[in-house]
């Protein structure tokens, strides 16, 4: 299969699920679509170099998660600045928070709690409980050991349970 055919096949099978995965990680549909588009083009660009083409979906997923992580890092710099910038900055941050508050009320507490988890735990839980990936697949996607996946998943669930029952106003992210 050539690069163009692979691109078309990957788009047909993976566009929607990857955009939804990216959405869960970055909470912005436009950015999520940009991220997946870039990841698809990256696969297309390097198709000839791909050592194992059977693993293309795995590489695509890893690229998407890495790009989402980069987006989150960028946002952190900006949010740190806004937090220091005084009333105008706080207004902007509040507007963004209000948008998030428009999520479905029934799942709002759970989703808000997920947002507040440390980055790695959040990624593991989303890959496990949304993408339905196996432990090995999550380890491959995040480039961590299966043991770390177990640890992050377990810690994440425990933290999630505490957060759902004892919500606090903000989340500390990690890069």
């Amino acid at each position: 299969m050539g690069a163009d055919e692979a691109l078309a096949a990957l788009y047909a099978a993976q566009w929607a699920p990857m955009v939804r995965l990216a959405w869960l990680l970055v909470r912005d549909q436009g950015v999520a679509e940009d991220v997946v588009q870039d990841a698809l083009l990256g696969i297309h660009r390097r198709w000839g170099q791909l050592a194992d083409k059977e693993q293309a979906v795995g590489y695509l997923r890893r690229s998407v998660v890495n790009a989402c992580r980069s987006v989150q890092r960028h946002r952190k710099v900006e949010s740190d600045y806004l937090a220091k910038a005084g009333p105008a900055g706080r207004d902007a941050a509040t507007a963004s928070a209000e948008e998030l508050a428009l999520r479905q009320v029934g799942n709002a507490a759970m989703l808000a709690a997920v947002e507040r988890l440390p980055r790695r735990q959040r990624e593991v839980l989303i890959l496990r409980y949304y993408a339905d990936l196996s432990e090995a697949q999550i380890a491959e996607t995040l480039q961590i050991s299966p043991g770390s996946v177990k640890a992050h998943a377990h810690r994440g669930l425990l933290a999630l349970r505490d957060l759902v029952t004892d919500p606090r106003p903000s989340r500390e992210d990690t890069p």
Binding site: R20, R62, Q104, N107, L111, Y129
Partner: protein
């Protein structure tokens, strides 16, 4: 996964339902045409040129590896300090960019800690070095603002947390490493290390070479001193790191092996990620690139792209990292995004900083 208890099973069910409902609430737009068009804009000639570049770099790496092996057999360090200095300060020819500028320096106010770590390129099955920037407050435990140099370097070298990058074929030669002290003089960085004298795990030369580069790059970057070499004092009285590299040797920022080691063809060293830079003054941007076409372009926020005056393509056969530097006119206060890309837009790196 660990077997969940009943209450965690309920939590898992709720979590799964919440994530599913939230994801299903969006309808991804149709971008097939856009994706295809973008793919088509990658002309065959450029693609071929890229292939030639890859092959040429691979050939150069073979040559470099051969020379490095020969050097090691002769009992000399694989990294030639003189060659490193020449590479970084003289390429591109005529550039006045110093090796000192080519660091991910974190000494500036508000800058995150530059962290180099081993990663694996899934496309070429190569062990490479990647770099990220970690806010001191995001480390576990958080790094105090007044942390000592030793603590800063130890924290940078300990990230990510031990074990997180283990497995999946990514070796961890520094997993047991401890930083016992750091001394910085005007011309030398001396790092006290423990846990790196032996090689019971049988790490191969590529792995230990990358790990050595990781330590040197990290130490120089944390200190903002890419212009002075690094040497070591091993805690247990050993004389070689991993039984291969003389502790007393002076190691500069690596040069020739770095092209193959760089996970990203463009590194933006300054400004560091998250760095705060003063308002009212031009900003000097510097970095390192493995791009051999000699053409780079930069952009701040949504302003027009401008070409970096790199001095043209690297000399024939010199598949070496090339230092680049350019000045950005004074920017308004606030957060900014800086991007540097190759001419064919295949590789782009970005950083974020704040002017105030």
């Amino acid at each position: 996964m660990n077997a969940p208890t009943d209450d965690l099973r309920d939590l898992e069910d709720s979590l799964r339902a919440a994530l599913r409902a939230d994801a299903d609430a969006i309808t991804p737009g149709d971008r097939l045409g856009e994706v295809r068009a973008a793919a088509m804009r990658q002309p065959g000639q450029t693609r071929r040129a890229r292939w030639l570049t890859v092959l040429a770099v691979a050939a150069a790496v073979v040559l470099v590896s051969t020379l490095a092996m020969a050097s090691l057999r002769a009992g000399k360090p694989a990294v030639d300090p003189a060659a490193s200095a020449v590479t970084l300060s003289s390429a591109p020819a005529g550039s006045k960019t110093s090796a000192g500028a080519a660091t991910g320096a974190s000494e500036a106010t508000g800058a995150a800690l530059p962290v180099y770590y081993l990663t694996k390129d899934p496309f070429r099955d190569l062990l490479r070095l990647d770099r990220t920037f970690v806010a001191p407050g995001d480390l576990e435990p958080p790094l105090a603002a007044d942390a000592s140099v030793t603590d800063r370097i130890a924290a940078a070298l300990a990230w990510p947390e031990p074990g997180v990058h283990a497995g999946e074929g990514i070796p961890t030669p520094t997993a047991d490493m401890t930083v016992t002290g750091v001394d910085v003089s005007s011309d030398l960085i001396t790092i006290g290390l423990g846990g790196v004298s032996g090689n019971e795990s049988g790490w191969d030369e590529t792995t230990t070479s990358r790990a050595l580069q990781q330590i040197v790059l990290t130490a120089q970057a944390v200190l903002g001193r890419g212009d002075i070499p690094v040497t070591f004092e091993l805690a247990d009285g050993a004389t070689e790191l991993w039984g291969r590299y003389a502790a007393t040797e002076r190691y500069h920022r690596p040069s020739t092996p770095l092209v193959e080691a760089m996970a990203d063809p463009i590194w933006i060293d300054r400004p560091g990620y998250g760095q705060t830079v003063p308002a009212g003054s031009p900003l000097t941007v510097s970095g390192l690139t493995a791009e051999t076409s000699g053409r780079l372009f930069w952009q701040v926020d949504d302003q027009p792209w401008q070409e970096v005056a790199t001095g043209g393509p690297a000399p024939d056969g010199a598949f070496l990292p090339v230092a680049y530097s350019f000045a950005v006119p004074a920017l308004p206060s606030g957060p900014h995004t800086l991007q540097v890309r190759t001419a064919d837009e295949r590789d782009v790196s970005s950083t974020r900083f704040v002017v105030e």
